[in-house]
Symmetry: C2
């Protein structure tokens, strides 16, 4: 009798019919002899509707209250899914974050899980009930409701799987798994059979939005194998686990991209120690999240510093830099908001020659100019024109033959 | 510095604009030096929408999960109202039923408050915050969410006022107070300056839907004076308190009515001891709520037993009686679903002669036939044809001169 932790996303429970369909899926599992704990997201677009409502009420909604408000979305779906299971003859119980013992810090909106007290869940399982946990939420030391950040129901499920030492952790979503590239822009993209935590992390942070980076980190930290699969069809799904199997190391596993990236260049920066800190500390203080950073070689002790940010943050970033321009002795700041990024991801990339060259060649063959390059152990990213991102993804998918079976 | 407990109903917080308007009303009170605890209902018709959603998901929604689901409505409004107050520069905090220490039994859907632990509320007030409590909800000994029944946010406010020994308890609603009759059918009806608990209870149970009976009972039990007034205009409102002032005793204070009443008559019932129990116990077991009961004088040891129920329960009631007809030795059961009730309510009615006679005369003068009569210490109720209820209310309002100032 295996203990399975599942997670169902917002599209999987978007309306009453889909809630009933998820209940039937869980019921089959229970009838097959498994014990099931399911974390569930808010229905469809309800979280966005609540955010809009809060903004109507307050110009600057208080973060504690925003968490109270948003948590109700997951609470609702957990109650509905539990009802649907009861209706199928399977006793079920919905638990809120506090009831499920999901303890967090007090950083409202993006609280971190500090521990899970599984006593109540175990008691309910032992009583023969299916346990439906409201995803995305926890409780602070002050007994206040916290939320774990957008898309964090994955985090709830993975943390529960770790805390309960579950035999399996399954994330049900609206796609068939982790794809070799975004299938909406690359028709030959296909679901991967498996992928390593590190590779998944690079895909998640560079644009593949199936799993949030923090959820992947927690899975890696607790060595939880995570199956990502579809709640709408019977797909084998993608297993995210400790290491890609041997034959798949030193291969490009997927193409990630970001459609909306802006580049900010600070010109004529004096090339002295500490200059980067002087520039990036004010940006961090202003809450601007900087992605790639590139510093050109100096000419006459002056250099250009270029960094990328999400497109919607470019105005704020430029404002911050303009405010400190004379202080740091730089000459000017310019920006380009119409860029995107494309990345190849795969274990062993840094230690295996030839990947970068093949990537650059493939982009050149499609007349795609590279604006910036950055690399990690398992990723090479090129910043290109926004209107060439889709073509770049497809070109790289072809070049690395990702349409073929592993 | 007075401590005031307020309650705002669903229409008072139906949208973002009204939530902000309620926040301004509370802010004025805080600026005048008072400390405020406000209980709040779910927005507008959201509770009905949730009930409909639950019924889409399950033919017979599990009561525990129904409470989890419904409680989210009040949680949402409490968070939004708290945000709106913060926006006005008044620190506020929303508390759920469990956070506000509202302990109940485990009768889901109509849980009874067993006690209130005010520690957290007092701590928040001492920290200078306005406390917004999600109405209608509590927490069971098993740490599960319970709800107190429809319209029970009044109960939350009155219980909090009792537990906190508040200086005032104010119920804000969409009307100007407790009226001498329903103003929608009796244009000369006017708000009463004050009314006794007992009178209010009779008005509440016989159709005046401004305050729920249980809320009035709890106010009486704890001697909490309750001001019922409008959240949309500056009305003096109606004070519900221990006794109507002297000059108002022995007067009809208001006319209550119910539009949809059905009458069930069991014919040829043997007139033996225990027969009423044999009849009404199966009805109670089936959850049929019986209102007025009348037994005619016997003829040859056979009698007719008549009782009234809400119109929508008549089918169930007749079914139950048909099932036990031969067992109790009665001859037949007939029903009339097209009735209503009209009541005059006032302290001292039973001990003062003439009220009943004036009531019957007024109805006769309007050609309104009386189908059944029942009385209490402070109420006389006549069952009449449903289509004559409105005329009966106005006739009685005129006859007892309720359009005049107290």
């Amino acid at each position: 009798m295996a203990l399975v932790v599942q997670k169902y996303g917002g599209t999987s429970v978007a309306d009453a019919e889909r809630v009933r369909s998820v209940a039937r899926r869980i019921a089959e599992r229970v009838e097959a002899g498994d014990r099931v704990v399911a974390a569930v997201s808010a229905m469809g677009s309800s979280t966005n509707e609540l955010i809009a409502l809060a903004r109507e009420v307050s110009g600057n909604p208080h973060p504690r209250e925003m968490d109270v408000l948003l948590s109700t979305g997951e609470t609702r779906s957990s109650a509905l899914l539990s009802m649907a299971l009861d209706d199928l003859g399977h006793p079920a119980v919905s638990l809120s974050g506090v009831q499920a013992g999901i303890r967090t810090d007090t950083v409202y909106g993006s609280a971190r899980i500090s521990g899970i007290d599984t006593a109540r869940i175990v008691r309910e399982l032992d009583a023969g009930r299916v346990v439906i946990v409201a995803g995305f939420q926890g409780v602070s030391e002050d007994f206040d409701i916290t939320t774990l950040g957008r898309g964090a129901s994955d985090l709830t499920a993975i943390s529960l799987a770790a805390g309960l030492k579950a035999d399996a952790c399954e994330i049900y979503t609206d796609v068939a798994g982790i794809y070799s590239a975004d299938p909406r822009i690359c028709p030959s993209a296909r679901p991967l059979a498996d992928i390593g935590y590190d590779e998944m992390l690079e895909l998640a942070t560079t644009g593949a939005r199936v799993m949030h980076a923090r959820a992947v980190e927690v899975a890696a930290l607790n060595d939880v194998d995570v199956l990502v699969t579809s709640s709408f069809e019977d797909a084998p799904g993608t297993l995210i686990h400790a290491e890609a199997i041997m034959e798949q190391a030193e291969k490009v596993r997927g193409i990630a991209h970001q459609a909306h990236v802006a580049k900010v260049t600070v010109r004529g920066v004096p090339d002295r120690p500490g200059i980067a800190a002087d520039l990036f500390e004010p940006l961090a203080t202003a809450g601007v999240s900087v992605d790639t950073i590139v510093q050109n070689a100096s000419v006459e002790d002056l250099t250009d510093l270029t960094f990328t940010v999400e497109r919607e943050e470019v105005g704020r970033a430029v404002g911050v830099v303009e405010g400190i321009l004379s202080e740091i002795g730089a000459s000017e700041v310019v920006s380009d908001p119409d860029l995107g990024s494309v990345s190849i991801v795969g274990t062993g990339m840094a230690t295996t020659p030839g990947f970068a060259a093949r990537m650059f060649r493939a982009l050149f063959d499609h007349d795609i100019n590279i604006e910036l390059i950055s690399t990690s152990e398992i990723r090479i990213t090129c910043i290109v024109r926004a209107d060439q991102v889709a073509e770049a993804v497809t070109a790289l998918h072809d070049a690395f033959q990702l349409d073929r079976e592993d």
